[in-house]
Amino acid sequence: MGGSGSPDVSLADLACADDRQLVELCLAGRPGAFDLIVERHQRAVYRLCYRFVRNHEDASDLSQDVFLRAYRGLRRFRGNASLTTWLYRIGVNVCLNRLSAKPALLDKQTQPIDEQAFIDTRGESAPDRLLRDERGARVREAIGRLPRKQRATLIMRTYHEMSHQEIADVLGTSVGAVKANFFHALGNLKKMLGDV
């Protein structure tokens, strides 16, 4: 990271630094500070990206893009939100922009049933499992067709179990707007699926 100096902070101190301190050290040119930010947040960022694109390769590329953008914009990180929220905000924007630019990614999201990861279905009859799988595939496909903010809100709420306030922080909006988005997302899903 650019900066005039390289503060004398030991590796042990670096590891103990909180996110805001790491950002400051990063801006001051402390080598390794940004690596630590990546190490701490890579899983969360990757999971978020994966949720949007549903394949490892693109999730990995998008995650890298998120961190690169974070690095470029680190000076704009104000510290009034948590670094996680800030990274999520970048992540949501990067994912939605990528999906807008490459709609083909949406096609990848709906995996054929046979390719879906194994779920323990012992005790479930074959027809039941088939119905559940089909239903899940339709729901996923419908989520992929939601308007951008509704999709982002739904994913953060149901997949990441983020609070409405956290989602509002990520999207830079109000809690009321998040709830309205969530409400409309569920309503639209109902219309797309045609039943419940």
Partner: protein
């Protein structure tokens, strides 16, 4: 019939998620539309939540090796970004010169030609090895402001560099003129017009 307004989107979401009890919304008891909307919302939410839980449970965590490799990838990308940033800052410092040198050189040449066609030029002295032609020119015409400008503008041009067979050195007049972008050409045109206006041509 209910006289109270219907429940808002946010109210319905809170009720569907169970973050507030139905008892806090007495309107529900008297409004069939809101009850139906809440029931639909709950059903859809349950459906999506089941799918989400299944997806999360089915997500295979990438191999531990992936994270090391990922960190290295990000680290390399960030290092390349830093390097690019440093280079662009360095180049950025010269970007004005990059625009100015070819534009000024061409402007000087055009002005020189224009003036040359109007003024009876004294015979310039022969090239003196090691001394740029511009200096000789300025020495020979010290009182002419426009020619002084030409001399100033061209004094940094090393004409010998372009003389090498097939090569127009970077930064040289020939290379500069033959490698102008559309933006540089526009800027050059503007400079030329300004210079010609100044010289009264």
């Amino acid at each position: 019939m209910s006289l109270k307004p219907h429940l808002s989107d946010a109210d319905l979401v809170d009720l569907a998620e169970g973050t507030r009890p139905e008892s806090s919304a007495p309107h529900l008891a008297s409004c069939e539309a809101c009850r139906r909307q809440l029931a639909d919302l709950r059903a859809m939410l349950a459906d999506v939540s089941i799918t989400a839980r299944e997806d999360v449970a089915a997500d295979a965590e990438p191999s531990p090796l992936f994270w090391d490799r990922f960190q290295q990838r990000v680290s390399s990308a960030v290092a390349a970004e830093s390097e690019r940033g440093a280079r662009s800052r360095l180049v950025g410092g010269f970007s004005g010169w990059r625009m100015l040198v070819p534009a000024a050189t061409l402007a000087a040449l055009v002005i020189a030609v224009t003036i040359n066609s109007r003024v009876t030029m004294p015979v310039p002295p022969e090239d003196v090895p090691g001394v740029p032609r511009a200096e000789l020119l300025s020495d020979s015409l010290p009182d002419d402001a426009s020619l002084q400008l030409v001399a100033d503008l061209t004094s940094s041009v090393d004409s010998s560099a372009e003389a090498e067979p097939g090569l127009a050195a970077h930064g040289g007049a020939e290379h500069a003129v033959s490698h102008l972008s559309a933006g540089e050409l526009r800027e050059l045109q503007r400079l030329l017009q300004a210079e010609l206006a100044n010289s009264g041509a």
